[in-house]
C-alpha cells in the first residue's frame, strides 16, 4: 500500500507542473522581441484539441481584424496552449441568482482550469482558478505578456478579472477585445462603474485645455461627456468599445493601447553595428536599423549626425570619414 501512496505523491508532483503543447498561431519574431499573447483552452479533452485550435484561431482572427491590433499585428506573437482536460466542457453548478436556473443542464466536468459558469452569482460569468492558469503559464510559457482562457461550451458567456475567460460562442471574442482594453491597456470602462478612478479614458477634469485627451478633442467624435450616473466624471466618447460591446475603440483608447504596445515592444527590432562594436572613424561606417512597421506604415525614422538630418525613412546609411572630420 505504501507504494500506492508514493505513486500518488509522484503523480501529484508531476501533474503540478504539467507541460502542454504550445502551438504558434501567429509568429512575427522571437519571444523576447514580440508581445506574446497566449490563448489557453479549458474543457477540451485530448481528442478535442483540433476544435480548440480552430476556436483559438477564430478568436485570434477576430482580434487581429480590429484596431489597433490590425495595425500592429506585426508586434505580436500569438500561441495556443493545448491544455488537456480529462472531461469536456465548462462546469455549470446552476447557482446563478440573475436567472431562473437551470438555464442549461447542471454539469461538473473535470476540466483542468476549473472554468465554470455562474461565477459570483451571474450565469454568464465564466471564470476559473487564477493560480492554476498562472501556474500553467509559468510552466509552459513564463514570459507571456497577455493571456486569455477559452472554455469549451457554446453557451454565450465570458468574464473579466485577472484574465479574460470566454466561451466558444461565436459572439464571445468581443469579450476578449474589451478585456484586453483593461488588462493590457489599463483602460477604464466607459459605462458607469464606481470602482475605477482616474484613467486614460476617465477623468474628473472638465477643462479642454488640460483634459487627458485634449489632443483628440473634436476628432472622431471625441469630446467631454458626462456620466449621468455620477456627474463628477467624464468619458471621451459615447460609443466606444469600453462602453458597449461590438464597437471599435475610440481614438483615446486606441492611442493608449498603441502606447502600451510600444512600451512593451520598442519599434526598433535590431540595429548594426551593435553597442559593443568598435568603430574606426577613418573608414566608411555602415549603419542599419530594422523597424517593426505598423500596417499601414505610419512610423517615421530620421538619421541625425550632430543633430543635423542626414537621411529620412531609410533602413541603411553609410557615414563617410569626411562627414565625421567636418564636424
Amino acid at each position: 500500500m505504501k507504494y500506492f501512496y508514493l505513486l500518488c505523491f509522484l503523480f501529484f508532483n508531476i501533474a503540478n507542473a504539467q507541460l502542454f503543447d504550445l502551438i504558434p498561431l501567429l509568429e512575427n519574431g522571437t519571444k523576447d522581441k514580440r508581445i506574446n499573447l497566449v490563448i489557453l483552452g479549458d474543457g477540451y479533452t485530448a481528442s478535442e484539441q483540433s476544435t480548440f485550435l480552430a476556436d483559438a484561431t477564430f478568436v485570434l482572427d477576430y482580434l487581429m481584424n480590429k484596431q489597433p491590433y490590425s495595425n500592429y499585428k506585426n508586434y505580436f506573437n500569438v500561441y495556443a496552449l493545448k491544455v488537456i482536460s480529462l472531461e469536456s466542457g465548462i462546469k455549470h453548478p446552476g447557482t446563478a441568482s440573475d436567472v431562473t436556473e437551470p438555464v442549461i443542464p447542471i454539469s461538473n466536468p473535470n476540466n483542468y482550469l476549473s472554468t465554470s459558469y455562474d461565477t459570483s452569482g451571474t450565469h454568464r460569468c465564466i471564470y476559473g482558478s487564477v493560480n492554476k492558469v498562472t501556474q500553467t503559464l509559468a510552466a509552459n510559457m513564463p514570459e507571456f505578456d497577455i493571456a486569455l482562457v477559452l472554455g469549451n461550451d457554446t453557451e454565450y458567456g465570458g468574464c473579466g478579472g485577472t484574465y479574460a475567460f470566454l466561451s466558444r460562442n461565436e459572439q464571445a471574442p468581443d469579450v476578449a477585445y474589451h478585456e484586453l482594453g483593461h488588462s493590457f491597456g489599463k483602460l477604464a470602462d466607459e459605462y458607469w462603474f464606481s470602482g475605477s478612478g482616474e484613467s486614460p479614458n476617465k477623468t474628473k477634469t472638465l477643462d479642454p485645455e488640460t483634459i487627458r485627451w485634449k489632443n483628440w478633442l473634436n476628432t472622431g467624435n471625441v469630446g467631454i461627456y458626462q456620466f449621468t450616473e455620477n456627474t463628477a466624471w467624464y468619458r471621451p466618447h459615447q460609443n466606444c468599445e469600453m462602453r458597449y460591446l461590438n464597437r471599435q475603440f475610440c481614438n483615446v483608447c486606441k492611442e493608449t493601447l498603441v502606447e502600451k504596445i510600444h512600451t512593451v515592444k520598442n519599434p526598433i527590432d535590431s540595429y548594426l553595428p551593435s553597442n559593443s562594436t568598435a568603430i574606426t572613424t577613418n573608414q566608411a561606417i555602415d549603419l542599419s536599423v530594422n523597424l517593426i512597421f505598423p500596417i499601414p506604415n505610419t512610423l517615421k525614422n530620421e538619421w541625425k549626425l550632430n543633430n543635423a538630418n542626414v537621411a529620412t525613412d531609410v533602413s541603411n546609411i553609410t557615414i563617410q570619414p569626411s562627414q565625421l572630420r567636418n564636424k
Binding site: 459570483s120 493560480n131 509559468a138 454565450y156 483593461h182 470602482g195
Partner: protein, 165 residues
C-alpha cells in the same frame, strides 16, 4: 496481489525515469551554477498565494508556490490592478540595502472585480470571498531581498505579509 505487484513495477519504472531526469538536471544544474557564478542572469519570478479571512476579520496570507525561470518580463505588470476600489493590496519589493525597489497595486483578492456580459451590455460586480488565491510576478536581477504585502482599506494600511527572499 496482482494489483500490488503492478503498482510496485509501475512505481519502480517511474522512479527510474525520475532519477534519470534528476541526474540529467543535476549535471545541467552544476554547469548552470558555474555560469551563474560568472554572471547573474535576469530571472522571472512568480509567487503564488492563498488568502483567507480569519474569524476576527484579518487577511491571513500564505505563500503556496514559487516558480523561477531564466528570462525577463516585458509586460511585468500583467495581473496588477485594473480597478482601484477602496480596498486593494500594495506590494513592495525591497533591494539588498532595504530600500524600496518597486511598488505595485493589485486588486484585493477577497473582493475581486468581475465584469460580466450579455450580448450587448456589460456590468461589474465586486465579490466578497472568505478564501481566495492570487499571484505576483516580477523581474529579479539578484537585487531583491524582501517582499511585503500591505492591505489598504478606506485609506488605512496594514502590513499583512512579509517574505525574505
Amino acid at each position: 496481489m496482482i494489483i500490488n505487484k503492478t503498482i510496485k513495477i509501475l512505481f519502480c519504472s517511474l522512479l527510474n525515469v525520475i532519477i534519470a531526469c534528476t541526474n540529467q538536471s543535476a549535471i545541467h544544474s552544476s554547469i548552470e551554477n558555474q555560469r551563474i557564478n560568472d554572471e547573474i542572469k535576469p530571472q522571472m519570478v512568480y509567487l503564488f498565494f492563498e488568502v483567507q479571512k480569519s474569524v476576527d476579520g484579518k487577511d491571513i496570507v500564505q505563500l503556496t508556490d514559487k516558480k523561477v525561470s531564466e528570462g525577463f518580463f516585458k509586460n511585468e505588470d500583467f495581473g496588477t490592478a485594473k480597478d482601484i476600489t477602496n480596498s486593494f493590496y500594495k506590494i513592495i519589493l525591497f533591494d539588498k540595502n532595504d530600500q524600496i525597489f518597486k511598488t505595485s497595486i493589485i486588486d484585493n483578492p477577497l473582493s475581486p472585480v468581475f465584469e460580466s456580459y450579455t450580448e450587448s451590455s456589460m456590468e461589474k460586480q465586486i465579490g466578497n470571498l472568505s478564501i481566495a488565491e492570487f499571484f505576483y510576478r516580477y523581474n529579479d536581477s539578484g537585487n531583491i531581498s524582501k517582499f511585503e504585502i500591505h492591505k489598504f482599506e478606506n485609506d488605512r494600511s496594514t502590513l499583512i505579509f512579509t517574505l525574505k527572499l
